[in-house]
């Protein structure tokens, strides 16, 4: 995932309502829009060449939506949404970010991770957002991503920012970690399991 376009949030804001507001942005895999305040009763709707993408109850800060095709317009449903205007460009140009090239799991899903234990979803500005857990010896933690169809069985790719990697088990998109010693873990990505004989279409040798 790479940040390809950015308009930083400034001090101005614009109200987004049901009227579609045209948006001219480079084609990317994810779009971030900046909200100065949460909009719990509203839904952000982005219309692209491939259809609509929706995000209900966006929180304050960067709201990220996965994209397919070029963005055409933007509107809100269920109530108006306040968006930050671009720094130095005024409210007509909403603050936004566009990323290209997503992994197996879209960026918006990582940002929606639920974490059971001491942790957060971490991101540096427009960089990738990934769930992070801090575990002490003997502790168990869990990270659950929203449901998402994957092309096959996957294994988690974990990084130990501190300490050693704990035991990890992935069921669906729920990751359970059991630590033998203090560690700080980042769930970086998932990778498709390599084919083994059980999955192979080649004839059995037995």
């Amino acid at each position: 995932m790479r940040l390809i376009f950015q308009r930083r949030p400034g001090s101005t804001a614009l109200w987004l309502d049901t009227w579609p507001r045209p948006l001219d942005l480079p084609v990317g895999a994810a779009l971030g829009l900046h909200l100065p305040r949460p909009a719990p009763s509203s839904e952000l709707v982005v219309t692209t060449q491939a259809g609509e993408v929706r995000l209900a109850s966006p929180a304050a800060g960067w709201a990220v939506l996965s994209l397919r095709g070029r963005v055409l317009s933007l509107h809100a449903e269920g109530g108006p949404v306040r968006l930050s205007g671009g720094a130095g460009e005024g409210p007509e140009f909403p603050a936004c970010r566009v990323w290209s090239g997503e992994g197996l799991i879209p960026e918006a899903l990582w940002r929606g991770a639920r974490i059971m234990g001491e942790g957060r979803v971490l991101a540096l500005a427009g960089g990738p957002a990934r769930p992070f857990l801090r575990l002490r010896a003997g502790e168990l933690g869990r990270i659950a991503l929203p449901p998402y169809p994957l092309p096959g069985p996957v294994d988690p790719v974990l990084t130990a920012l501190r300490g050693e990697l704990p035991l990890a088990q992935l069921e669906g998109l729920t990751l359970t970690l059991r630590a033998g010693a203090f560690c700080e873990i980042l769930w970086e990505e998932v990778q498709l399991r390599p084919n083994n004989l059980a999955n192979s279409v080649a004839p059995s040798r037995r």
Binding site: R120, V121, L122, L124, G127, E164, A181
Partner: protein
């Protein structure tokens, strides 16, 4: 929070060397990720940092560590130098570049007073290094997250700061991707190349004897430092001063030498590895890598031993070729993107 947008990079160094270059490399990477990155350094080193800044905004503050100043006065100077800027800049988190672990204690106190979380990245943790009781007392209560550039250095830092095992993160240095320069066809007198500050730590005092010992080969030294004056005019030794195109220099050398008595994770080793230049180094200089004997030849800090290993490097072409191939893989595996990504998440974790 966990999602910082405005990052402060504090560089309280008295000079612009490898640690500062690496810090600016990370700062540029974070700016490319979309963060607003502001670097603060002493006015004396700003000219060296300016060409490395790109989208990073530079500010000057009188914060350079000076070993000649009494330690509590040094801390006060850094605190007073940084405090007005911190109030102005309102950063979400800070990365502080520490040549040695105690070089930025005053700056860390200023960050703590301004309620800015920080990642203290230590580049050198000497085997004989100690953290003075007054420094440790000054750091008490300062909420800092620590990291260093190699696993052995991290373990030493934990011992020095009396932190639990695993508390110090490790972020190995990484090399920016760049076009490799073809090795120049060698002929004539072989070249042994040293890159780094001309000081005792890097082994520059060995140069006069080494130049004599490897004759008729030439000893080339790139870099500046306090021993430059002493080494000027030594027969067989060529001082190159500050060299910007290091890959081109490595491409024409027959071997690269790093005779340091301690190092963090030297970028010059990665640059030599990427350039396919055979590496001769002390064990201490290569402690960041798990199996350095696979890609380098070890030398003692002794001119005649270095000369003997250099001669073996030229003679044993098969052994040298195997090591050079290993070294290229090491350079490819330790990449800049991984270093920046890891630092970015560690910084974000300071806000979690």
């Amino acid at each position: 929070m966990g999602m910082p947008e405005r990052i402060l990079v504090i560089i309280p160094s008295p000079e612009c060397g490898g640690a500062e270059r690496q810090t600016m490399q990370v700062a540029r990477g974070m700016a490319r990720m979309g963060a607003e990155v502001i670097a603060v350094a002493d006015p004396s080193i700003l000219p060296g940092l300016t060409p490395l800044a790109e989208a990073v905004t530079l500010y000057a503050a009188p914060i350079a560590f000076d070993a000649g100043v009494e330690i509590s006065a040094m801390r006060a100077r850094q605190r007073q130098g940084l405090a007005p800027l911190l109030a102005l800049l309102r950063a979400d988190t800070a990365l502080i570049c520490l040549g040695l672990p105690n070089e930025g204690v005053g700056a860390m106190q200023a960050l703590h007073a301004a309620e800015i979380r920080m990642l203290a990245m230590t580049h050198l943790v000497r085997r004989d290094g100690v953290m003075g009781e007054t420094d440790r007392a000054a750091l008490r209560g300062v909420r800092a997250s620590w990291a260093s550039v190699s696993a052995p250095a991290s373990r030493r830092l934990e011992a020095m700061l009396r932190l639990p095992p695993g508390a110090v993160a490790t972020v190995p240095n990484g090399l920016a991707p760049g076009g490799s320069i073809p090795r120049t066809a060698r002929g004539g007198r072989p070249i042994l190349l040293s890159i780094g500050r001309l000081d005792v730590r890097k082994g520059a005092t060995l140069a006069p004897q080494l130049a004599a010992a490897i004759t008729p080969a030439r000893l080339l030294m790139a870099g500046r430092g306090p021993l430059a004056g002493v080494l000027t005019g030594v027969p067989g030794l060529e001082l190159l001063g500050q060299v910007n195109d290091v890959p081109a220099l490595l491409a024409k050398a027959d071997a690269f030498l790093l005779a340091s008595d301690h190092e963090g994770c030297p970028l010059s080793v990665l640059e030599a590895a990427a350039a396919g230049c055979p590496i001769l180094a002390t064990v201490a200089a290569l402690e960041a890598w798990p199996e350095p004997a696979r890609f380098a030849r070890f030398v003692l800090r002794d001119a005649s031993h270095i000369a003997a290993v250099f001669a073996e490097t030229l003679r044993d072409t098969e052994g040298t070729t195997v090591r050079v191939a290993e070294a290229r893989q090491v350079a490819a595996a330790w990449d800049e993107a991984a270093m920046i990504r890891r630092t970015a998440f560690l910084l974000a974790a300071t806000c979690a």
